[in-house]
Symmetry: C2
């Protein structure tokens, strides 16, 4: 395995579990493997006190307990597939029978002038988080600009706000969370402003200067890390990530790719997509590991589900937004409702649900859930419906759980489906 | 409509919405309609302060705002279908073109000696709740026995415990929540005892005496209310409830039945069942109302989803337990796991998930989720999977939402599916 985070370690563990006689080597260029990258913003926020608690397992653990040979500080610089060898930066060659590529994603920030200044940070590794923490402690910055309103950008906005900084988020695409959805962007922007975070969705920062404040976090420009794959003529797909079969194999026989460096088959569009997430990396990694030791497992694909907490507000997304659906060739209709999260007499917050469906087939295409409670559960129900190609009419009759402390009799999901159904009838 | 609670009022509202020219009459024998019966235990507990807040709409509202003729204190004593008439207790006859039966369920407690004593209560109506409240205030009972460990029984155990009583629950069937599931019963019993509620799952109370304490709540022996249907030779199914087609029509053309008085097609067993719940009543009511004015809607059936809060613990159930599945003719396998509810470094409670599948087909048959958080969302995902006939292998690859504040990277649902998958491979 090249890469020892989510996809690589999942592949290694699964290969070894299914075939204990197999020699499994993980090559990781950084000094640590198996860490919870998604936890880094919560370290900066102060909720996670020790960076070490984000390390799931050490290389020693894998060597001793799992008999997996994990080599850190081992950067692969070449894949010589004809010889079935990878070459490390110190020119050591390592033989493989099967290879799993799990190099992840990379931040391409070279287009931003001044991005090398010492008050400019990224947040991908434990080391990045340490550097940010040190800067906050020693320099006590009073203001920060975050470039990019994706998950990490918005989580960092909350984290730095909690640390007392004035925070401004700049996003060039006009939308947040990589979702082409004006309503969602409006709701998120309004909520951020309530928490004292300024957001500008049409601001492109070409040069970092004094207007960016005392600190800058770059969290835009993530791309699949494919340079190494190109050295071996491993084919990329249209998304720019490594193209894989449903068995997550690349165009080279016996070479698999999983996680953020690979394409992800999207069940709703029926086409490859690139939506880099830890959950997908883990699932693809398991399949790569199993197939590397002779199984023939298939990756069922994604429906594009994600969730993020932004200043206390939960935002869940799955499938396509209305505009994304139109671009993908559907004739979408959408309904958005806001409804009580629990029985009215029980009190509690409200939840906003949007459902998107194809007006011709009635099939659900996507949805979003926004609220303080119950967001994960409801977005997961929509994701499960998308996985099964449910229509709005079928969805409207789902037998969902009800009791006053947990939900109203008609769940917000079902009310949204009723509204959407009316647009069709 | 005969009956003006969940199913009856849903039917009335839907019929009127789809055909405003239709004359809709609701006959309700009690003085109130459209009340949230599920909220009654929370009134006794003290969380819901005013009984009036459980009344969703008054008869006046329906008359004035919806043009629905709601007649309270109107008990139907006979259905004369040949004349298309229902006869009230005062011998008034009312003509119908289409009839919706929504008489609900009834508590049959006659087998218990002493059940007419003035310290013995049921909890079905607002009046029942008022009587209980008055008794608690005036008589200040110090101990109570609850007969029946179904939803209402367990919710009342919590409510009376909160009110300071010593509470004991007696259940004759050996199981709680009507689920043939020894593990579940064990977990619930242990939890109740932690909250000072004594539970005896093999205690049949044939006679109410001093050993039952100062107060008794009977919440066992619910049966579909079908006496009236029998007067008109409306056919019952094997469950003892009114048999209906997938358009919720009875054996009499133009006579529909919905909610607790009717059978509910169970998608997992493929057979009629009787699982009286407000959600099902609302859905069937809507379909009855639509079909009464000429639509041809079909009820998709239930998967048996429910949730209850018992002394702070959420318990979600759907589909079949392992033993129920075996009795239904499947060859079930089951896996139960307990896993962190969120990313480990984020803290938070754990969730216990059980999944049941058929060992031959791999199809999921049921599941349970127990925990303090995230129970509704997870049981709803299993319910959605059951509705779609998903296999364990398909379920294991669901693209569920992940972020540290909401879930671990591998959701407890997926870990349970992995464990169950291992039993098959």
């Amino acid at each position: 395995m090249i890469g020892g985070v989510a996809a690589g370690m999942s592949a290694a563990a699964q290969a070894k579990r299914l075939d204990p006689s197999c020699e499994v080597v993980v090559l990781e260029k950084s000094p640590v493997v198996s860490y919870a990258a998604c936890g880094l913003p919560y370290f900066v926020e102060g909720r996670v006190r020790e960076l070490s608690s984000l390390i799931v397992h050490t290389p020693e653990y894998f060597r001793k307990e799992r008999n997996i040979d994990v080599r850190t500080n081992s950067e692969v610089v070449e894949i010589a597939h004809s010889r079935r060898e990878v070459v490390l930066s110190d020119r050591t060659a390592i033989h493989y029978d099967k290879l799993v590529l799990a190099m992840g994603a990379k931040l391409h920030a070279q287009a931003i002038e001044g991005s090398d200044a010492d008050h400019v940070f990224r947040l991908q590794t434990l080391r990045d988080a340490q550097r940010i923490e040190k800067f906050l402690e020693e320099r006590k910055p009073r203001s920060a600009t975050i470039i990019g309103a994706g998950y990490i950008g918005l989580e960092m906005a909350e984290a730095l706000r909690v640390r007392g900084l004035r925070v401004s988020v700049a996003q060039s695409s006009g939308e947040v969370l990589g979702r082409d959805d004006a309503k969602l962007t409006g709701i998120v922007a309004k909520h951020l402003e309530k928490f004292g975070v300024e957001i500008n969705c049409s601001r492109r920062i070409a040069r970092i200067d004094q207007s960016c404040g005392n600190m800058v976090i770059i969290s835009a420009g993530f791309r699949p890390n494919v340079e190494l794959a190109l050295t071996a003529e491993i084919a990329l797909g249209r998304t720019g990530a490594i193209a894989v079969s449903d068995g997550v194999e690349t165009n080279l026989s016996g070479v698999y790719a999983a996680g953020d460096c690979a394409e992800h088959f999207h069940r709703v569009t029926g086409a490859p997509s690139w939506i880099p997430l830890g959950t997908t990396a883990n699932k693809m990694g398991r399949i790569a590991g199993a197939n590397a030791v002779g199984r023939r497992n298939r990756f069922a694909g994604i429906v594009g589900t994600s969730i993020v907490r932004v200043c206390g507000l939960g935002i869940g997304l799955t499938g396509l937004s209305e505009r994304q659906a139109r671009k993908a060739g559907f004739s979408p209709i959408a309904a958005q409702i806001t409804h009580s999260e629990r029985a009215g007499y029980f009190g509690g917050d409200s939840t906003t649900v949007e459902l998107v469906a194809d007006s011709q087939s009635g099939k659900l295409l996507g949805g979003s859930v926004i609220g303080e409670q119950g967001v994960k559960g409801r977005i997961d129900v929509i994701a499960t419906a998308l996985t099964n190609g449910m229509t709005v009419d079928e969805f409207e009759q789902l037998d969902l759980a009800y009791a006053p402390p947990f939900a109203p009799t008609w769940d917000a999901l079902l009310i949204a489906a009723q509204q959407l159904g009316k647009l069709r009838n």
